[in-house]
């Protein structure tokens, strides 16, 4: 692990933080009708895909209709969860004061209740990004994804857990908020999660009710086909969301941090940690849309409450600032990042760091070491 504090001199960190703040201010001042029109348009596309998908499954006896139905429904769920739900619930559109775009009121088409997720994601993950023992998204309490996580024979199953999590991702996201791992260790009590569990039960029964009971029943004799179609759409969305999210923080060159090195962090240092702890994925406009612009994970972690459609526009500027300060800007195509994550998951199933040799810190601490010498 490279020392977070050693990357830049204090003066540089401050300048760097100011540049980021200025960039943010420029975007915030420019927000307006076009941003609202954009998200309303995505919502319109998502709802149309949803209705078409459901309708096509009524003709599910005809294989092309079934396949098209599953495709439309999968896309609908992906757009709903990624570009709409995730981003709206980050408060990216709270400035519009439209209740339908309010982070506190929005609910998404997945079993995890919005309220539970907002806490663990917006607060815990985005505040303590990649800090071991604090960011509960590091391995989700199930996987060993960082060499600094202590090995245990349980982790021999690492690759299997990852595959299961990928297929069941919406349930994983939901159960994540019960903090099983910490309850088992005795750090939290089961009873503390009564409210959280109640919300899960309510939300999950509604989701299961529509996807696996009501819509299948409505299609009469086609019920099994509809159920299979809905389940497939949920799985497609699960695999997609898992892939995008795991590529955001876990490719090999992304860094993690300790509680000590992030104590009393300044704004500039916080920005710095977000850049070092995140990775982008390259791709075209459609890919960015379907990833909820989480393909711009770096920009998202710097400015989680700025409308995501702005990330591709500011990415060149963020990258230029990173270059100016000699900071890495992790990015790569989906297949490369996915392979990197998969390799890591397999390697870390075994004891040891999983690294051939620790990467050299790419920036200033070398110079500073020289100075010290």
């Amino acid at each position: 692990m490279t020392g977070l504090q050693d990357r830049l001199t204090p003066q540089q960190v401050e300048d760097f933080g100011r540049e980021m703040d200025e960039l943010r201010q420029r975007v915030v001042a420019d927000l307006g009708k076009s941003d609202v029109d954009y998200i309303q348009n995505v919502i319109k596309i998502q709802r149309s895909l949803e209705i078409s998908g459901r309708a096509l499954l009524f003709a599910g006896f005809f294989p092309p209709a079934w396949i098209a139905g599953v495709g439309a429904l999968s896309l609908s769920k992906i757009l709903d969860n990624m570009e709409i739900g995730h981003n709206v619930m980050h408060g990216q559109y709270d400035w519009t004061r439209d209740p339908a775009l309010s982070s506190q009121r929005f609910e998404w088409d997945t079993v995890a209740p919005a309220e539970n997720w907002r806490h663990s994601h917006n607060y815990i993950h985005h505040t303590y990004t990649n800090i071991l023992d604090k960011d509960r998204d590091v391995g989700y309490g199930i996987l060993r994804i960082d060499p600094e996580q202590k090995w245990h024979p349980y982790y021999l199953g690492n690759p299997v857990y990852a595959v299961v999590l990928a297929f069941m991702f919406q349930w994983g996201v939901m159960l994540h908020d019960l903090e099983f791992d910490r309850v088992v260790k005795g750090e939290r009590k089961w009873s503390e999660f009564a409210e959280v569990r109640k919300r899960m039960l309510r939300k999950a029964s509604r989701q299961v009710g529509k996807d696996y009971v009501l819509f299948p029943l409505l299609t009469g004799p086609l019920a099994p086909l509809t159920l299979l179609g809905n389940a497939s759409a949920n799985v497609v969305r699960n695999l997609w969301a898992f892939s995008i999210i795991f590529c955001g923080h876990f490719p090999a060159d992304v860094e993690s941090f300790t509680e000590q090195e992030t104590e009393n962090e300044s704004r500039g240092q916080w920005y710095l940690r977000q850049i070092l702890g995140s990775a982008n994925i390259t791709g075209g406009p459609l890919f960015h849309l379907l990833s909820g612009n989480l393909s711009h994970q770096i920009e998202h972690h710097l400015f989680p409450d700025i409308p995501a459609c702005r990330y591709p526009k500011i990415a060149p500027e963020v990258r230029a600032i990173c270059e100016k300060y000699g900071l890495p800007y992790h990015t790569g195509p989906l297949h490369k990042q996915l392979f990197s994550v998969a390799k890591k998951i397999v390697k870390l199933a075994l004891p040891g760091s999983g690294r051939a040799n620790a990467p050299e810190p790419s920036t200033l601490n070398r110079d500073r070491n020289l100075e010290a010498a």
Partner: protein, 354 residues
């Protein structure tokens, strides 16, 4: 239909049926209240009169009440309170007359840009500035400027009821050209028992001249001591009427709609302490402005409506600290107390659960 809608709601969870219906037509919504502008008329240079067709969830209103009206301006939803001016007995129709204030973002926008087909958001009607049932034998309505709307609604409602008691509307405006509904007021004033008295503070076309005083009152409604009086207008008029009624021992018979904002006598020079918005984890130095403005300056968007302390939309829990009510100057330091953000100024450190 109800059962079908409930099934549709279950199938369309978690977004609900309105979020799909509105994609076909924004006025199809079942639960949300909206209204479509069907007619736009600019009766006087500074005002615009909108005729609205409300969506199916609109419950109707009682004359004198107000609604919170929302409109999107450059992507941001803005909400203000307006009293419908029409009769309460015309379901499916709503009329708003809005004066464009010099610094009024919403009123100027509506005055400039309102057109047929524009869809506005509406709240349920609110407010207790309403006539008792059965109607009083003698009624005096006093209004000034755009404060005419709730009392005009009362007058039109009474006309629809064919009310025969004594009713006088005493209305103040700068000049005759500033009075909307002039022809209709004339017609209403010709009804048996009803009188409409126009007073002009600048210009002589009206029956009365100058500002409100006992002379006007005696001229317009000599029986005012036996009447119920309903008052809506700018602060100087409200103060003058309230003072006269207090001196005459009639305060109990006077009902006031504080529709125009109270002048906020803010002294920001001695503002001290910090304001913490606990739910969002935001903190800032107290600027001495109302908490709603401070919250917005901190990037928060608390729900709100009138911004003048009447609609209670911005009520939040103050966990700790003291706040001053800008209208009364009263300071309150109770813990876990509900306050209205728009008219509360922090006195020292304050914690708001917002």
């Amino acid at each position: 239909m109800g059962r079908l809608a409930a099934l549709a709601g279950t199938l369309l969870t978690p977004h609900g049926i309105d979020r799909y219906l509105e994609l076909i037509d924004p006025m199809l919504v079942r639960e949300e209240i909206r209204a479509e502008v069907t007619e736009v008329c600019r009766q006087t240079p500074g005002t615009v009169t909108l005729t609205l067709r409300p969506s199916r969830a609109w419950p109707g209103f009682t004359a004198g009440q107000y609604v919170r009206v929302s409109v999107d301006i450059n992507g941001v939803r803005r909400t203000r309170c307006y009293s419908p001016a029409g009769s309460a007995h015309r379901p499916g129709r709503l009329e708003l007359t809005i004066r464009a204030h010099d610094h009024g973002l919403v009123s100027r926008y509506l005055h400039r840009a309102a057109r047929q087909g524009l869809v506005l958001g509406l709240s349920r009607p609110e407010g207790g500035f309403t006539l008792p049932d059965p109607r009083p034998e003698k009624l005096l309505l006093i209004s000034g400027g755009s404060g005419i709307t709730p009392v005009l609604s009362m007058l039109r409602t009474l006309a629809d009821e064919d009310h025969r008691g004594d009713v006088t509307l005493l209305h103040y405006a700068a000049t005759a050209a500033d009075v909307p509904y002039r022809e209709e007021l004339e017609r209403l004033g010709a009804r048996p028992g009803t009188r409409v008295v126009l007073a002009h503070t600048r210009g002589g076309a009206g029956r009365l001249r100058g500002r409100f005083g006992e002379r006007h009152l005696k001229e317009a409604a000599p029986w005012y001591r036996d009447a119920r009086t309903y008052l809506c207008g700018p602060e100087p008029l409200r103060d003058a009427v309230a003072e006269l009624y207090a001196d005459a021992g009639l305060s109990e018979r006077l009902h006031t709609e504080e529709f125009t904002p109270p002048s906020m006598r803010l002294d920001t020079s001695d503002a001290s302490g910090r304001v913490r918005f606990t739910r969002s984890g935001t903190e800032a130095a107290n600027t001495g402005r109302p908490l709603l403005e401070q919250a917005e300056a901190a990037g928060l968007n608390p729900e709100h409506g009138c911004r003048m302390g009447i609609c209670f939309s911005c009520t939040q829990v103050k966990a700790k600290g003291a706040v001053r009510d800008v209208r009364s100057g009263e300071v309150s330091d109770d813990e876990n107390e509900e306050i209205q953000l728009c008219i509360s100024v922090p006195v020292g450190d304050v914690e708001i659960d917002c």
